[in-house]
């Protein structure tokens, strides 16, 4: 895998992330289309995702939760707004309440995913636009807290 680059637009609160994978476009599409594969990589470090519902069609909804190191569940949802297999996927991604249904507390993040063939490799471009700064912080906070815990565990190992 090669991370080709990323671009941050502070004004628009947009992150563009580009990576290339050593696999065909159809194969990379599967990691989004197949919920069992998707849940293996979607969550932040230490917060594996579980997709309970995954309707991969325009207007379809997905329900998922991420489980933290102490068992805390953080539910989320997607609404698919555009889909053109195997090249393009757009969806809104938001936090949900305890019942797994979308919460109005924070506006969703919009993601646009594009897959294109580059020789026999695939370039994946994701553009994430944050509607809410708190949503951005909340998304990031999860991974960061766990990162700190992992770092502490590593220190423990060294000292043992």
């Amino acid at each position: 895998m090669a991370v080709i680059g990323s671009h941050k637009d502070l004004d628009a609160l947009t992150l563009t992330f580009v990576a290339e994978f050593d696999a065909g476009v159809e194969r990379v599409w599967q990691v989004w289309e197949d919920p069992r594969q998707l849940e293996r990589w979607w969550g932040p470090p230490g917060w594996p995702a579980t997709f309970d519902k995954h309707e991969f069609v325009v207007g379809g909804t997905c329900r998922y939760h991420m489980t933290g190191p102490d068992g805390t569940k953080s539910p989320g949802w997607w609404t698919i707004t555009a889909i053109e297999p195997p090249h393009r996927l757009e969806f809104d991604d938001g936090f949900a309440g305890e019942d797994g249904e979308p919460s109005d507390a924070l506006p969703p993040t919009h993601a646009v995913v594009t897959l294109e063939a580059v020789g026999d490799r695939t370039r994946m471009t994701t553009v994430t636009t944050f509607a809410s700064l708190e949503a951005m912080e909340q998304t990031i906070a999860m991974g960061t807290e766990e990162g700190t815990v992992l770092a502490m565990n590593q220190i423990d190992e060294v000292l043992r």
Partner: protein, 108 residues
């Protein structure tokens, strides 16, 4: 950074004039009256924008004689940028996860 602080930063950056002020004063300090000449608005309106930026720690202001001089606060601007950096890290983590799945045999 606590969420309250974040709100201040992003509210401050949500306005085109304020972003322009930040860009100018990060480059070189400027007085409030000097800044006011760049925009089709009153001195008081510009002063208000500067006050919002100041509360968000994106600029600092000091009185020099009769003038109020505005400086860019790099630490504040970097704080906002740091959040997007953290999000980029999340995508690096995800891309590494995808790569791991793709390298497995017999998944497809």
């Amino acid at each position: 950074m606590v969420v309250g602080e974040l709100d201040l930063v992003f509210h401050a950056l949500a306005d085109g004039t304020r972003r322009d002020i930040v860009r100018r004063v990060i480059h070189a300090e400027e007085s409030v009256s000097g800044l006011a000449r760049h925009y089709p608005m009153s001195f008081a309106a510009v002063q208000k924008h500067v006050a919002i930026l100041e509360r968000a720690s994106l600029v600092t202001k000091e009185r020099r004689g009769r003038e109020q001089v505005v400086h860019g606060d790099l630490a504040g601007v970097r704080k906002a940028a740091r959040l997007l950096d953290a999000y980029e890290e999340l995508w690096r983590h995800r891309a590494a996860g995808i790569e791991r799945i793709l390298s497995e045999k017999g998944v497809d």
